[in-house]
């Protein structure tokens, strides 16, 4: 069985520079999420910049870095807001990992990849967070979760996906890692 190979070996950015860029992006996203996002209310909900950027990092840098970035981002946001660490981090690990796997195993040339990824990631993360909050004793009516949490946040995040992906791609250097494997 022939294995699909990428067009050519991609040049990997210098590790130190990559770490610095990801760290700056992480801190900027945490500040964006905790100070600016709460002031943007559309359709009765706030967009989730952290989720969109984690998905973008996963698409651009693969599953491992996507999952690590998601963990760090979720932990820092929880830390900044005095919330229990681990809840948001869990959801964002899944988002970063799945976005990275999607990028590693699919053709991203269509340009719709960021929108599809963020749309699916928003639903998955919302469901994970809802279940986690329920287990932690925070209850909410199903109609509220569906219409005031999952639906508007998914729509808002999807609308932001393209511009945020473009900015993130510019900041990280725009190199996309492709795995040589086909699952």
């Amino acid at each position: 069985m022939a294995r699909r190979r990428p067009p050519g070996p991609a040049e990997h950015p210098h590790v130190g520079l990559e770490v610095v860029r990801l760290s700056v992006l992480l801190v900027a996203t945490v500040l964006l999420q905790t100070t600016i996002t709460p002031n943007i209310r559309i359709l009765g909900a706030n967009p989730d910049f952290m989720l969109v950027i984690v998905a973008a990092v996963g698409l651009l840098r693969g599953a491992e870095i996507g999952a690590l970035f998601g963990f760090a981002g979720g932990a820092l946001v929880a830390l900044a807001l005095f919330q229990p660490p681990g809840v948001v981090a869990l959801a964002l690990i899944i988002v970063g990992y799945l976005a990275g796997r999607y990028a590693e195993t699919s053709d991203l040339s269509s340009g719709l990849a960021p929108l599809i990824t963020v749309f699916a990631a928003s639903i998955v993360a919302s469901v994970v967070l809802t279940v986690a909050q329920f287990l932690l004793g925070r209850e909410a009516p199903v109609w509220f979760v569906a219409t005031r949490v999952i639906l508007p946040v998914t729509v808002l995040n999807t609308l932001l996906a393209a511009p945020i992906f473009i900015v993130t791609k510019w900041w990280l250097g725009g190199r996309v890692e492709r795995s040589s494997e086909v699952d």
């Binding site: 706030n46 900044a80 229990p84």
Partner: protein, 279 residues
Amino acid sequence: MTRHRAARRRVLAAILIVLSVGLLTFYFREPANGPVHRAQDAGLRLLAPLQSGTARAIKPFRDGWNWTAELFRARSENARLQKEVDALRNSVTQLQALQEQNAELTGLVGLKNQGIYPKGCRLVAARVIASSPTAWYSTVTISAGSAQGVKLYDAVVNDQGLVGRVTAVTSDAAEVTLITDQSSYVDAMVLVPHGRSPLGILAGSVTGDLSLQYVDKAAQVSPGELVATSGMKGSIFVRGIPIGVVTSVAQQDVELYQSISVKPFVDFHTLDLVMVVER
């Protein structure tokens, strides 16, 4: 090589998930000065100045955004406010009469009028530097902490009324749980023109609505009446801090208590400057 990379990827994801669940477990099981809480304190010492600077920098844009959003709501808001003004005007008249009577009676028994906040209470001003962006938590982070004298469970107010209470403190910042949060319970009373003020517990919810619970069915409560803190013995809130106004009252035969909805005076979407009431 490919199999090795796939295994490494899965192991990393599993480690991160276990780490997340472990952090969550330790956070809830450890005491307030445990390692995870101390790490949170240390991290906030680094982040709080950045959040404070960002909050100041975006204030003009946030005010512009709110101004634009309010333009669209202006007409309906105007009609609603006009009704509220009429209702409040009636309440003020009645309360003025009660105030005169109260002054006379307290003068008779020799009590000093201390105002809402007891003598010796200090008000510490602080700015909101971060807010929870999700519906699950109604909390804000303020720019005052233990270094400024803020303590756990101190009440937080602004010029409109009761905002919430302090639920976590670090040296330079504090978390305030808003009264609209699901975990918030405030002892409250309805200021009625005649008779004793019905007492109840004001509870928040994930939907952001406030409900006054455990109010006896026999109590006469009407929409438009003011709600304030009752300051019961042992309460962290002093008596008389304005909370909001009753918007609806419902009773069901099978229920023991009335179902009362309250609209808060404070606009939690535009919170900026608050005051911590230090006991």
